[in-house]
């Protein structure tokens, strides 16, 4: 059935003419049905047209997998138009994940070997775009052959195909390394460009290759010098800069070769200075080359003067009106800030200017760089700038900015008061964006600054009165008001004298408690703060009692529990209330990087007392020490205590167990058998660590005139016990008190059942074989109790 299908042109027009998504889908579905039918019928002449239509549809996002096999057929066709569209289809539709891609390997091989130049070009292009590792391995020799051909058109493509192959299969580097040095002597820019890219790949993958190519540095320097000094050729150049693409690639390779290598770095010093000073930067091409030069100078072992020049160039870039150039300058300075900090500091003011940019990428870079430039001398100015930025910055940068300011404040704060002010400011402006531990950090900081308690609580109170929506701020403020509420009512010289009434404070806390904006954790803070105020404030506590009793029936379980407990505190334990609600001691808290310690919790204090007790316990009975420690740690149910603080505590005791086993609770040895000089003795041991274990050593001695040979001792115990017999020391007990036979029995008696033991002996003595079976009587009670 021949259905006249659309020409590509008409299909595109029809699709573009569709007014709705549904209409477009309809057109495409109809056309895809035609295409599928045509693929099935196999009309070879129209196949490329059908595939072209399919590729357009694929570009719009519709499924086109049924065209994969058609690509293979088209590639195999002798017509150039078929191959062209077929290879394009292969690049767009096939990829490594589909097994079908391997099927084109043979076609590519044929085309590489026998095709005309354009066909070879197509094949190489396809190989470089979607060639998988298997394909690369199969076709490596073909590509190598093409590398050495004279014609530049195919050669330059072969070189870049080699680049792709080395990326996919690093082992192929061995094949492609040898031709490189010779290729550098070519004059064709395309070949040079490809060769330099190939050398870069080889050097990045193997240090041996890097060393090998360090000897071509002079050649590279010569090529670049020629480019820069000889006249500008319009064919390869862009606005006064000769072949910037090639220049940039050479500079990149020089960077890789010169890194950590004195000799190479020296060779390129002059050239880099020349490029840096002579490049025409009126247009972007020149700036691109200059930028690459700066990166190279900073990365190799360059002379000091050259480095200064590079940083200055970056400084100039920062003042450029072109935003792109400012962006790359900021990025590079960020990379340099670790190694050349003082040089970058000189441009600090310009960087801070960039903070005021409206462009998102630029302001992000400026923020990162500004944060990296903060040090103890400029921290106050920088923080002011950063806080101004925080006010106006886009939301996605707020979190970074806030945490950056807090970190900088932590490291470089000149005074505690300034530190508290800064954190307060950040919390007020960007409270919802700060990290979770900011609250803990601030409470610990305030707790530690005793002289600032009054000041802090007043500032926090005012902040809270203005705005109760920022949760971290609210949490810190309520905690402070609870702890230091008494300072609120006194007069404080540091802030404006303001009469704060008790009722106002309580009202504010209640407001926080009831607000729908408060998180459950915040409400917990508020409730506890109210409770603490009951001892701090002078007035009567009725209002607080009321609130506490109301929340005794709150739906939130945590709040309810707290309220009920506090209620109890009012009712039955009123005498203890003042002691319990005392001011907290300073929390042990190291730098923000440490995260294992219990965060500002009361449990830390009593635990450290426990651990202080342990070292003073007597060393007599290690066993009881062990058990005591187990009791201690299990007693504290509220929080699993960290074992590592105060290492002089229990840990040493655990490890300090004596190496010799402790003297067993001595159980007397038992003689169980005697016959004609052959005696059997049992000795018992109950190891201290394992109460259910009983070790019996059976010792057989022979005081007679004849040896005891082939001695075998077997034992049986009641079913509830487990018996394990270890191998005896031997089966011969020599005569006249010679070497005895010993054997160890292990009996596990977890249920402490009464021990009964039956023994069976067989041996040869005086030429007779003896067999004895008997039960051991008089087993001491200590063996099983």
């Amino acid at each position: 059935m021949v259905v006249s299908s659309l020409k590509l042109h008409d299909l595109i027009e029809e699709i573009r003419g569709a007014k709705t998504q549904a209409q477009e889908r309809e057109v495409i579905q109809k056309e895809c049905a035609h295409i599928r039918a045509s693929f099935r019928d196999g009309d070879p002449v129209q196949r490329h047209r059908q595939l072209a239509k399919l590729l357009y549809v694929h570009m719009l996002g519709y499924p086109a997998h049924f065209g994969q096999m058609e690509c293979l057929k088209l590639i195999a066709s002798p017509r150039f138009i078929d191959k062209r569209v077929g290879y394009l289809g292969a690049m767009l539709l096939l990829d490594e994940r589909h097994d079908a891609h391997l099927l084109i390997t043979n076609s590519i091989k044929n085309d590489l070997n026998h095709g005309i130049q354009p066909v070879q070009g197509l094949a190489l292009c396809t190989l470089s775009t979607m060639g998988s590792a298997e394909m690369c391995r199969d076709l490596a020799t073909e590509v190598e052959k093409l590398l050495l051909q004279p014609g530049p058109y195919v050669r330059k493509k072969a070189i870049l195909a080699a680049v792709h192959m080395v990326r996919k299969v690093p082992e192929l580097s061995d094949i492609f390394l040898p031709p490189c040095a010779k290729l550098l002597h070519e004059h064709h820019h395309g070949i040079l460009l490809g060769t330099i890219t190939l050398i870069m790949e080889l050097c990045q993958r193997s240090p041996a290759a890097l060393r090998h190519f360090q000897k071509v540095v002079p050649k590279l320097v010569q090529i670049l010098r020629t480019l820069v000094t000889t006249g500008y050729s319009k064919e390869h150049g862009i606005s006064g800069v000769s072949d910037p693409f090639l220049q940039v690639q050479i500079l990149r390779l020089l960077r890789i070769l010169g890194r950590n290598h004195e000799e190479s770095s020296e060779t390129m010093n002059d050239l880099l200075a020349q490029v840096a000073t002579n490049t025409n930067t009126s247009r972007n091409a020149g700036s691109a080359v200059l930028f690459e030069t700066v990166l190279t100078i900073m990365d190799i072992r360059s002379a000091a003067g050259l480095r200064v020049l590079a940083v200055n160039i970056l400084g100039h870039f920062l003042l450029n009106s072109d935003k792109n150039i400012r962006y790359v300058a900021l990025t590079s300075l960020l990379r340099l800030v670790q190694s050349d900090h003082s040089a970058v500091q000189r441009h600090r003011s310009t960087v801070v200017e960039c903070l005021r940019e409206t462009d998102a990428s630029l302001s992000r870079r400026a923020l990162e760089l500004s944060l990296a430039l903060v040090n103890s001398s400029n921290v106050q100015d920088m923080t002011k700038e950063l806080q101004a930025f925080l006010k106006s910055c886009p939301p996605d940068l707020r979190a970074d900015c806030a945490s950056g300011i807090l970190l900088a404040a932590e490291r470089f704060a000149p005074t505690k008061r300034w530190h508290i002010d800064t954190i307060l400011h950040v919390l007020t402006m960007a409270g919802t964006y700060v990290r979770d531990d900011a609250v803990a950090n601030l409470t610990q900081l305030i707790g530690g600054a005793q002289e600032l308690h009054a000041y802090s609580v007043r500032r926090l109170y005012h902040a809270l009165a203005r705005d109760i929506s920022q949760q971290p701020l609210v949490q810190v403020a309520t905690w402070c008001i609870g702890e230091y509420g008494d300072f609120l009512l006194e007069n404080c010289e540091e802030t404006e004298p303001l009469k704060v009434e008790e009722e106002e404070v309580l009202a504010l806390l209640e407001k926080v408690l009831q607000s729908h904006m408060s998180l459950p954790a915040t409400r917990g803070y508020a409730l506890t703060a109210l409770m603490k105020l009951s001892t701090r404030l002078q007035g009567d506590t009725n209002r607080i009692r009321q609130v506490v009793s109301i929340y005794g029936s709150c739906l939130d379980v945590e709040l309810q529990q707290r309220a009920v407990e506090y209620n109890m505190l009012f009712q039955k334990y009123d005498h203890m209330r003042a002691a319990i609600l005392e001011k907290m001691p300073l929390v042990e808290h190291s730098s923000p990087q440490a995260d294992e310690k219990a965060k500002g919790s009361r449990e830390v204090a009593p635990l450290s007392e426990d651990q202080a007790l342990v070292p003073t316990e007597p060393q007599t009975s290690k066993l009881s020490d062990l058990l005591d420690l187990l009791d201690d740690t299990s007693g504290d149910t509220r929080q699993p205590p960290p074992l590592q603080p105060s290492p002089e505590g229990g840990v040493v005791h655990l490890l300090d167990l004596p190496s010799t086993p402790p003297p067993p609770a001595s159980i007397p040895t038992l003689k169980v058998f005697e016959r004609e000089g052959v005696r059997l003795n049992l000795s018992f041991t109950r190891p201290p660590g394992t109460p259910a274990l009983l070790l019996i050593t059976v010792t057989t001695t022979n005081s007679s005139e004849d040896d005891v040979t082939h001695f075998i001792c077997q034992a049986a115990v009641p079913k509830s016990l487990q018996l394990q017999l270890q191998a005896p020391s031997g089966s011969t007990a020599t005569a006249r008190g010679g070497l005895p036979i010993t054997q160890l029995f292990r009996i596990l008696n977890p249920n402490k059942a009464p021990l009964r033991l039956k023994l069976r002996l067989t041996y040869n003595h005086f030429g007779q074989s003896v067999q004895e079976i008997f039960e051991v009587n008089n087993l001491p009670v200590e063996t099983w109790q």
């Binding site: 138009i81 005309i116 354009p118 990149r252």
Partner: protein, 109 residues
């Protein structure tokens, strides 16, 4: 507006020509400014080939746009820095196609 964005572990460089955005994704160690030149060079090639290229030219001749790209870049790297050589290669390839290619627009030089 700055022409560079960050996306995952790549950098996106874009340039706007009338109503079209040409976007290019590059790796961390690549030079953004030279990428802008690469984009511009490609647009210049299209312009030379189609004669004052417009959006419709690219839409109705998308395969041509691919063919031109494949003569300028290979495996993600620049293969030919001479505009003349790229256009010459395309011209020769076009001549190899059979004359009866009724669905391709005959390019207007």
């Amino acid at each position: 507006m700055c022409s560079f964005l960050e996306w995952r572990d790549l950098k996106i460089v874009y340039k706007r020509y009338a109503s079209l955005y040409f976007c290019c994704a590059i790796e961390d160690q690549d030079n953004e400014l030279i990428t802008l030149e690469i984009i511009h060079r490609y647009v210049e090639l299209l312009d030379k080939y189609f004669g004052s290229v417009c959006e419709l030219d690219i839409i109705f001749n998308f395969e041509k746009a691919y063919f031109i790209l494949d003569e300028f870049l290979l495996g993600g790297e620049v293969q030919e820095t001479s505009k003349k050589n790229v256009l010459k290669a395309i011209e020769q390839a076009d001549l190899l196609q059979e004359p009866r290619h009724e669905y391709f627009n005959v390019p207007v030089y």
